[in-house]
Symmetry: D2
Subunit: 395 residues, 4 copies
Amino acid sequence: LSAGSAGAFGPWTETVEALAAELGATAAARDAAGGSAQAERELIRQSGLLALAVPVEWGGPGASWELVLRTVRRLAQADSSLAHLFGFQHLQVATVRLFGTAEQQARYLGATVRDRWFWGNAVNSRDTRLTATRIDGGWRLDGVKGFCSGALGSDVLNVSISTGPEPTDRTFFVLPSDRTGLEIRDDWNSFGQRQTDSGTVKFDGVVVTDAERLGPAPAADTPWPSLRSLLSQSILTEIYLGNAIAALEQAGHYVRAEARPWAASNVDTAGDDPTLQLRAGESWASLQAAIALADSGAARLSNAYAGGPALTEAARAETAVAVASARWMAGGTALAVTQRVFELMGARSTAGGLRLDRYWRNVRVHTLHDPLDLRARELGRWALTGAPPVASAYS
Amino acid sequence: LSAGSAGAFGPWTETVEALAAELGATAAARDAAGGSAQAERELIRQSGLLALAVPVEWGGPGASWELVLRTVRRLAQADSSLAHLFGFQHLQVATVRLFGTAEQQARYLGATVRDRWFWGNAVNSRDTRLTATRIDGGWRLDGVKGFCSGALGSDVLNVSISTGPEPTDRTFFVLPSDRTGLEIRDDWNSFGQRQTDSGTVKFDGVVVTDAERLGPAPAADTPWPSLRSLLSQSILTEIYLGNAIAALEQAGHYVRAEARPWAASNVDTAGDDPTLQLRAGESWASLQAAIALADSGAARLSNAYAGGPALTEAARAETAVAVASARWMAGGTALAVTQRVFELMGARSTAGGLRLDRYWRNVRVHTLHDPLDLRARELGRWALTGAPPVASAYS
Amino acid sequence: LSAGSAGAFGPWTETVEALAAELGATAAARDAAGGSAQAERELIRQSGLLALAVPVEWGGPGASWELVLRTVRRLAQADSSLAHLFGFQHLQVATVRLFGTAEQQARYLGATVRDRWFWGNAVNSRDTRLTATRIDGGWRLDGVKGFCSGALGSDVLNVSISTGPEPTDRTFFVLPSDRTGLEIRDDWNSFGQRQTDSGTVKFDGVVVTDAERLGPAPAADTPWPSLRSLLSQSILTEIYLGNAIAALEQAGHYVRAEARPWAASNVDTAGDDPTLQLRAGESWASLQAAIALADSGAARLSNAYAGGPALTEAARAETAVAVASARWMAGGTALAVTQRVFELMGARSTAGGLRLDRYWRNVRVHTLHDPLDLRARELGRWALTGAPPVASAYS
Amino acid sequence: LSAGSAGAFGPWTETVEALAAELGATAAARDAAGGSAQAERELIRQSGLLALAVPVEWGGPGASWELVLRTVRRLAQADSSLAHLFGFQHLQVATVRLFGTAEQQARYLGATVRDRWFWGNAVNSRDTRLTATRIDGGWRLDGVKGFCSGALGSDVLNVSISTGPEPTDRTFFVLPSDRTGLEIRDDWNSFGQRQTDSGTVKFDGVVVTDAERLGPAPAADTPWPSLRSLLSQSILTEIYLGNAIAALEQAGHYVRAEARPWAASNVDTAGDDPTLQLRAGESWASLQAAIALADSGAARLSNAYAGGPALTEAARAETAVAVASARWMAGGTALAVTQRVFELMGARSTAGGLRLDRYWRNVRVHTLHDPLDLRARELGRWALTGAPPVASAYS
């Protein structure tokens, strides 16, 4: 049970595995502590992986999104919160690529490589408390945004605001995290994904220039920019899978090392217990299906992204359906697997120090943003009527 | 959605409700803190409810087990850990009734009323590290027992040890919790049921007298004593239900007070959202079924207990099947409900301070002792072959 | 696993059991043949049970609805189609009681006893092809109605038509089945519930008199008449349960008599197979829960019906919730159980002659009228907002 | 929702689609009739597809197993029974390839191409009523075999018998279907897969020569021959998927053409109903996951087969796990989807003439051979202990 075959991260395999090992060693303790994991963010920065998806053109290695997503999954097996920060770093990079002018791409992606920028965001579209006022040569931002993943400790922020009711009315600003008037609060506290630094950002007369507003992109009215939300969804998919894979792996280790069979089972080891085998097999096989669908969706999405702005409506629709299907399946499967692994391990596996419930807590929290049932409804409409998922902030 | 109709606790209704309110007011904070809730145990003691099931004959009010179980459910809605302590208090009282001589019943149950004893236990049958050595006039106990719910802070302990392979080889000792050689450790730490004081008890040459060994009971070879494990199972059933009821109630409150509908839903309030209604209805109706089956099982068990030692094998089998069915159903339903309520409330309900995940954590931990799948197998054997559940420490 | 304890049908126990035995003996063959079971309808008529719920006042035995529903369940174990006809007979009797004047009750219920009337219906509210035109002294009916259970071979028909958009705009007519202009077609053919005679009735200038229009009832604007749809729902609930109970019983018989364990299971008989035990236990226990909830709902409904027109809005709401919960649970459980029993029995149990798939087919067909998901939504709205189920033709 | 992208059947695309169309046109009627579909078998024979997997070396087109399996899926969408016959044709071809000598491969596979042989089988390993007695220069077979798919109307039969307790003790004989002493009965009658000609074959002193016994194969003690059971499993996987895809497609057609929304839903068309969308989406996405896993398993298996006898134990284990996971997932998903589609379409979709229940009946019957729970246990043992699935007649 692994995130992929050996060498799946190409030239970065050793780097990814080393980073995963370092993060994993302290993940349980940091889940208990909560708060911001600035030291571990620094480990990610030093790995050089923050620029993974920056195109060669701007000095990056130009890794495919398939590889980026596989890396998110691998890191999520070790540390779900930091995998989220890692994934969303790349989402901001992609945002510049999808919405920025060539000049902006050169500027911001170049700096991402050169200065090892860690990107944060303040883009939660359901939070409408942030307002932008037109001023001479730019805008003044006032208000607050919640769920600003990665903002705390970031070098640069991607801020978005809707200037109208349409998905295309969404505006992205890029500004340094130390811009005057910005207050990035250390107030994130949820029962899962505890170190994603997803707190509140307060804007008090923050000035942004016109040059800091992404775009106009060459093809703003095409399906191409809507890939942003598909990338975002796919990152979540991989985080769910990483948690589920890790939970089932941990359960396997525990069963082999610790678990005792029930007397009534008449077997020598817990691994021989027919009921435990059945339950483990159900988790295993459903997880394999979720992984296969995620792999298929990631390949399609990676391909659509690599193809650039010429993306057709039809291809966009097929990709959106594939990505949404994968997320629905991964979310439901990960909830089930992370809940059920305790039935393989038994009561002692609930010892507080092991914090093995963190897999369920992480998935439970992370599946509530952009609810799975809404995705299912979109897929059902597609199946029943042929209407593709609406391109929106959340699809 | 309530544990029962108004007045369901008879003359104790006001007392039960007041106690539930007091425990509920601090339950979330104490779930965060963990450790021992000695002050809250004192509240229970002062309520006078510790003697609820003591027969009139020994000075108690002689409440039915149906009422005791309903009270466990009600308290579990407020505080799952203390409801467990409350329920297991009554299990120890029943142990004296089921296994003790008339003299021992008079002595121990009388003191339970008179001195407001809080009972703890050290009876976990899967932990075989405790040994009993015959000495002149009694026994010497050495070793340790884990999962000793309620031992910490108790007045008296029910200790059991198996002196042979048969269920009937089980011996119960009653001894004061401050007996020389006893060390009751404050080392319980699980991710759920965090204040059940279910830590380790160390026995270092603890001497018990023959008079402190329960029995011989008048009818030790009848089905009657095996009701003990059915009472134990039923307490768990009620705790699962209490958590699920509370979780769904909390979700209802939250949806009415806090939740916003998704834009795509085109409804005014979250309560109008068809998908949320569907999910809430699924949880509601399955919970109603679990409650109906638990009520039915509790009535049957209460009746069997009230009927005394004349209980037949056939009646015992029917009761065991009813109790096991109820526990299986309650456990599975409570896991599902406590997991899914977040889908009704949305992402903000995962805020750390609310600790709404404690319902799931409590149920998850508590369903691993005596696994539900083993119960299902017993019920399936009954359905397929007519063989009744084996009377054992766990059935 | 039985529909109830011995003697559960009171003075009718022997009659009910004999009828069930007769119907059961030919049920599989008649499921294959389909069509109308006039001979078996005659058996029901001769049993005298058609008048079970007619009040003593009009010459009937005045059995409770609890007993009627329990009888539906018992008959459905033997023959799901004829149990439906039996249940809907009583629904028409109740319709007269709920909507008719005292004079109409005397006339129609008296004749039901005296002349052993078998009632049919043409009341499907989703089918709006039937129109009523006011004529002198009555109405003229033209058009068709589908899903007219029991019409073929009936003595008398209950016909309903909505004269406006409100639930209370529903009008019931009672007319003899041989009234001029009526054409009762033998065109029912569904893959389940194959002998419910639920074909089409054609109305070609059918004249009904004002006296044949039920009502005005003494309290037409109270919750009392809305019990009709709750009785209808509860009949379905019992049919689901009867099929599921029968399927699991058949599986038990088959496993004991025929099934062989898989070699890999290393057990002597199929009944010893841990996986089969687990699956049988899951079906058993969930079915027990569905039965307990149905019993609880039936008791409440029976009580509300017995209480008469004084039924309060609050009591109606609680009853409606109980009845809908029971139907939702019974439907889902019966679908699952009737699908899964084959996993207990193995491939040879799919032999065409056994027709053991009829349990699933019956439940599958019968759960589509008034879909379970709509019930769940109503229950969820109740749980989330406190709004009671709307009183309608289907609730 | 399709079995694959356009052109997925390479040069055979037109042939496959034409065959599927012809079979699909009469499939519902033939499901009602049951019995043997000799005319439709002739259509398959005339399509030339019976030799699809025969290697180029022996005059066949040498199509990959990936393509064969994809064709099974496509045909199963149209006609599940004939897709089974088609798939098992190729299984017999593979049996010659896996177990036969080079000479036998030349003889039997050459004739398969040249004479358009339709293969039947009598290999059911659970049926031990067939015995082989050593005679001079060969064997004499006596007894019966059940579940002999495709035997009726075949040109040649693959017969197997276990001569000892080990998987490797299995012997395959190839003999013409008109061999003296063979009686191929037309006695297949199951409620699903109704035209697979899976009746009984009676052997009355049937003589087979040593030359008709397959083998000794060049590498009989390697993992290579065990691919047979993986091919067999994969055919079942594709049949499950074909039924589920067809059921969901039919439901989509029906919803668009026929279904009316419920009044309470306040939507214009059934396809706009949020609850129907949710349910359709759940079916769609889970089916996508099952398809993705099946595709992944088929690719791996096809690759292992193409690699020939050098297959390693490790590669065999990974392939067996992939194939079993795919079958478990496809089976469970297809059962759920084929059961639930009626909830999308409503009560009128159960009309007898539509026979839309055949998808469920087909899957229900076909998932009982080699039960899914046994596969799950094997996968669980792998997950918990690392022990690979045992190579057996059924794995």
